[in-house]
Symmetry: C2
Subunit: 472 residues, 2 copies
Amino acid sequence: MSRNKAPHLTPEQFRTRGHQMIDLIADYMSDIESFPVLSQVDAGEIYSSFPVHPPERSESYEKMLQDVKDIIIPGLTHWQSPNFFAYFPSNASGPSILGDMLSSGFGIQGMLWSTSPACTELETLMLDWMVEITGLPEHFHSKNSGGGVIQESASSAALCAAVAGREKALRNGHSEHSQLVGYISNQTHSSAEKSLKIAGFRDHQIRTIEVSSDFSMDPNHLLEMIRTDLSDGKKPAFVCATVGTTSSLAVDPVPQISEITNEFDIWLHVDGAYSGSATVCPEYRHLLNGIENADSYCFNPHKWLLTNFDCDLFYVKKKSDLVDALTFTPEYLRNKATESGQVFDYSGWQVSLGRRFRSLKLWFVIRHYGIEGLRAHIRSHIQYAAQFTQWIKDDDEFELFQKTVLNLVCFRHKEGNAKTRQILETANASGKLFATHTVLNDQYLIRFVPGAVRTEMRHVEEAWKEFKSAAS
Amino acid sequence: MSRNKAPHLTPEQFRTRGHQMIDLIADYMSDIESFPVLSQVDAGEIYSSFPVHPPERSESYEKMLQDVKDIIIPGLTHWQSPNFFAYFPSNASGPSILGDMLSSGFGIQGMLWSTSPACTELETLMLDWMVEITGLPEHFHSKNSGGGVIQESASSAALCAAVAGREKALRNGHSEHSQLVGYISNQTHSSAEKSLKIAGFRDHQIRTIEVSSDFSMDPNHLLEMIRTDLSDGKKPAFVCATVGTTSSLAVDPVPQISEITNEFDIWLHVDGAYSGSATVCPEYRHLLNGIENADSYCFNPHKWLLTNFDCDLFYVKKKSDLVDALTFTPEYLRNKATESGQVFDYSGWQVSLGRRFRSLKLWFVIRHYGIEGLRAHIRSHIQYAAQFTQWIKDDDEFELFQKTVLNLVCFRHKEGNAKTRQILETANASGKLFATHTVLNDQYLIRFVPGAVRTEMRHVEEAWKEFKSAAS
């Protein structure tokens, strides 16, 4: 048996290596435009670049950093590139990286208030600040009936909402789980259906509501389905409405939907994962019309609000609905603070027991940018999308699929699907940009989303030239 | 409408601030013994130290760092203190912090192979390396029927296991969800029951199995309950066995339990969240006897294996069982690599769609420490616990509750519960250490776990003196 000592880093060794790591990250930021945006490696190439067996003995830091440069970086798709226009952005701003470093450095566990009061209370404060910044209803503020918590993602938030809705529907004891029904539209994010299924809803308990011509949920069809289910002895339990669908940023009519869910006492979850960030600007708050009647709401600063993954903000109208569904406190976690009832234990607001100090990064972002800076960030991207839209309108080869919403442009080549797909593949293969596609009404569409932290008008111009060149 | 520009950091501004942040973290590491281990703040104190309203304009970095020192640090319970002996440790080693910084800096999303091949493939390689390092069955290796994935926590892993088990039990179409039954013991971590409930098991579908005198699950009682359920027309679907319970590190008899689960075709999940890390040492591999018959297994390097939260390693014997239960691919995520079937898309192995590049920190840890260093780390803590145990054995005031397992010492004052509780509260209030308690057989016990990265024998000695002094 070896009696070697583990080679822990001293604070001074950590300092030296930390400075080297910061330099590597700062260099990556400087050089990022020199890499092909979409990684060009083949399946299995990264895996087989490394030894099959783990090292017996400590390796040098220099060798590890060299492998990062030689092997890892070529295997990345560069989400932080200003030429990344795919999916939705994943903003990792400087201040959020700094806040996240601090979270890693402290290495605390925020499962209970007592396991680090600052972790719980700063999180509560950030969620309360965001109520003000985005103009949310006062009942989402922690001092009132509701409150907010940071979740890993909109998927986790949807799961917690589905479980809370399920429990609320079963509380009166008149229904069985197998009678419950959940409602989504055919444009709702896959995470909502996945959440319902994880929460035990079977296929026959999930209804897919039709959408109107603008791809938003048709409230008449929702009402009709609910009435049918009720007359069949089912118990409608959960509706997920979306403010900004993934394919086209369609906005489900929350005012009409919430009238229905209120009438039939159904949990309404509003998923604003992407578009919610735009409501830092007063001129986009109308997107959340009707939100005051929702039971829960989430949006992801880790998409478009400068805060690196993971940071989904999840609000509930009534804390007790969530906490009653998700709290289990065994003996070894009991403590005076919890029993006083004066504190929040966020482990009872989420699936996992453990949790990182995630609010630090959001705190750094809000303080560094200020409300003004957050608004300027959002408005810049919307302006780029508006310019790009104008180029398409003025062009004779390409056409818009729909009116541009926020910073998502859906467009196609007039020759149709095959040509459009070929243009996207050619543009992506150039390495100069990365955009993705969707299919709506059987039309293959390029989704172009200028939303990265470092994207400027010049990058959008270059992208437009690239699409034009790929078309010819 | 403001036309201000958002104050994004240039790479050079980030470099300067990053160096300052590294210095703050290195100073925190140096000074950590000077803080009271358990935060002394009152409920609401941190929240009310900050402005009620968010800032309109950008604030200075210096002011933010000052607030970290003046307000946040006093609000922390210092999990990285060498005098932290509470719960289970949450190892944030230097190399893991460096790896996590890189993950934040790259800011990529690993939901699909194509969204950053290095993220998926390095993760696969790390999970395969860990099969070798901890001597797991070959079927957990990615090249065989099974494979592994990094989950947020053992709670998330248990949830995925419960859902996979549920789906397997329902696959033949002969049973309804309401007939399924899940089995835990009264010592199983609360996350297993929570997972079953999230997955839709109602109270009447969860059985709590009795434990033997050593607090391990009684396989005879398990068998009896399963037979009763079968004769009642129920469908046993999921058993969670624990290798190292939270209260006392009891080890459920996986060889006998797995004989039963195999006979009745029930999903067996083995939760090795804490003790699994010890199996890097060949002399503790016997803890996992029988693991070859389990359907899934997890352990947390973010507890005792030098890797900061979140890093739970979750293995399944058959990939398809997990992936079939958790994969939903909408149009906007379709891509050639996925359709080729040659790659893993880890979003289909977990609840959330999005995911961080979490394997980087594990890669840094394994390469920095080497297998030798990982073993030395584990063995040092076990040696400290053995020494502490000897002091108790030689003492006339305190007594052991049970034989010490690994590095968990459960002990009490001979005068009983009230005295033991008072000693723990006095010791914790001193700020010189932090330990927690549990209750077993109605006895209030101090749980003492020397497992922090920087804990040395001298800290364990000081803790012993502190308990002695609190007792007098």
